[in-house]
């Protein structure tokens, strides 16, 4: 098989669309947040045409004002339907179309976070991501119709992974090649000019002195640039992926506290779910149904396992809690709890550092003889 054929096979290989389904659910609030200022203005009868705007092209259609406002509200309704998974394909395509139309109306509408939102919506619009986590699927079940295959050709997922990495990579690269940025001038000047805001923060004097010191930024700027590049590259390899995701969350939260970036932080963190391995129910959590704590853990896993990582099974009465990982490794008791929470989207960031504990590392290395390698791929 030639490299081109292998590449083509990779793009067409069916994979789980679960991560994109979850992203679809999370993208709705991002769209509402994005549309909020436009909708708020529309309630006062204001649109982009009441003040300076700059069309990208003369031929780009301007709608009459009532139609434009109606379109914005339709976009909000479509975003809600998209999140709920009601008429998912239509709702997602409508959301994408309206957000895209609005952003391209004027150069003044364009921001990096909106560009990223457009890319995410575009991928969701072409991916069959409504077969799970959707009202469509629930209605289908209620009517007794067979569930459609939740897998589909993986190319939309791979494409979005490329775009996600491109966002961090392009940002990091632009700073790397800019001597003012890489040398610390840009961050230093930004901090010094925001000195009044900095003084308002509950920071000790030594921290403020450090943050406004030119020498500090010589190192800090390099750290920022290399962090962005590490996220862009680290997401691609399994050995570094969890660390890259963890760092990316910190990175976005740091930006959110220090700058106004509209929906970028929320969207950036939400998109990280696409880096989960696109296979579902390939880990087994085995509980003792008589043990209260095991049952509580099982309940938590059922509630928080949005990426469908686990099957929860009943073990022998009196048995220890066990987690059979994807590669067949069996982990018991505390390490099993740590590993479980590290694979749930909402708890992963907190639980991932616990995997570095010696007891957990030892447990993950040791595979008891005779245990079946469940869900191995």
């Amino acid at each position: 098989m030639s490299p081109l054929e292998r590449f083509d096979e990779l793009l067409g290989r069916p994979v789980s669309m679960r991560a994109l389904a979850l992203l679809r659910v999370l993208a709705g609030p991002a769209v509402l947040l994005h549309l909020e200022p436009f909708l708020s203005d529309s309630l006062d009868g204001q649109t982009y045409r009441d003040a300076f705007y700059e069309p990208y092209a003369d031929w780009y259609p301007d709608l009459p004002e009532p139609a434009y406002i109606g379109l914005l509200w339709l976009g909000a309704v479509a975003a809600i339907a998209m999140s709920l998974g009601l008429l998912t394909r239509l709702a997602t395509a409508t959301t994408f179309g309206i957000v895209a139309y609005n952003v391209f109306l004027s150069t003044t509408h364009f921001h990096n976070n909106r560009a990223y939102l457009l890319i995410v919506l575009g991928v969701l619009a072409v991916a069959p991501c409504g077969r799970e986590l959707s009202l469509d699927a629930w209605i289908r079940r209620r009517r007794g119709r067979p569930a459609p295959d939740p897998r589909a050709p993986g190319w939309p997922l791979w494409l979005l992974r490329f775009e996600c990495a491109a966002v961090y990579g392009a940002s990091g690269l632009s700073k790397l090649v800019d001597s003012d940025w890489f040398g610390g001038t840009v961050t230093w000047q930004r901090v010094v000019r925001a000195r009044e805001d900095l003084d308002a923060w509950p920071l000790p004097d030594w921290a403020i002195t450090a943050l406004t010191d030119r020498g500090f930024h010589t190192g800090a700027a390099k750290f920022i640039v290399l962090t962005e590049l590490f996220i862009a590259l680290g997401l691609w390899w399994r050995g570094t992926r969890y660390l890259a995701v963890w760092v990316a969350v910190v990175f976005h939260l740091s930006i959110e506290t220090s700058a106004s970036v509209q929906v970028f932080s929320y969207l950036g963190i939400a998109v990280l779910v696409i880096w989960a391995v696109p296979a579902t129910r390939d880990r087994v959590l085995r509980i003792d149904p008589a043990a209260t704590r095991h049952r509580q853990l099982a309940t938590a896993v059922r509630a928080l396992d949005w990426l469908a990582r686990f099957r929860v099974e009943r073990g022998e009465p009196g048995s220890a809690l066990q987690l059979v990982d994807r590669d067949g490794t069996v982990v018991s008791r505390g390490p099993a709890v740590a590993l479980t929470f590290s694979r749930l989207p909402l708890t992963a960031w907190f639980a991932l550092p616990t995997l570095l504990l010696p007891a957990v590392r030892r447990a993950r290395r040791a595979e008891p003889a005779g245990m079946p390698a469940m869900g191995q791929r």
């Binding site: 793009l11 003040a51 300076f52 705007y53 700059e54 150069t107 003044t108 364009f110 990096n112 560009a115 990223y116 890319i119 190319w155 791979w158 494409l159 490329f162 775009e163 491109a166 966002v167 392009a170 940002s171 690269l173 632009s174 700073k175 800019d178 003012d180 940025w181 001038t185 840009v186 961050t187 230093w188 000047q189 930004r190 000019r193 700058a259």
Partner: protein, 137 residues
Amino acid sequence: MVVVAVVAVQLALVARGYWSDHKEFAFQMFPESSTWQADVVRVTADDRRVPVSRPWAGYRWEELVQDRGLRYPSVRHHADAGIDNQLAFLDAALDWVADNTPRDRETRYLEARVTAWHNDDPATVEVMRSDVREGAG
């Protein structure tokens, strides 16, 4: 085919970000610490130079130009997306105001005397003008 095309376009847009003003889909975030300030005036048919901070013919600059940090140009601001991006917006805003103030019958054109500080470089000064309005005076 779709994947290859999208990847190629994305890479091209990232490259385009190094020379274009608006840098769409180039994802150059927090690019500069540059700042700018501009004295914007209306130049009338009888050659008076009236600051746009004063309302005219029922118009106010801050109502006409509300976005992209252009509302109060006389105050020194950070250029959020870089100085080239900021000045391109200001240039376009001058034209838009000149074209969209029909009650104003005295202004020939708008002019901005812009002082820009690219990162920690020395200040540079440039003058921008809108298109000349037809029928003024």
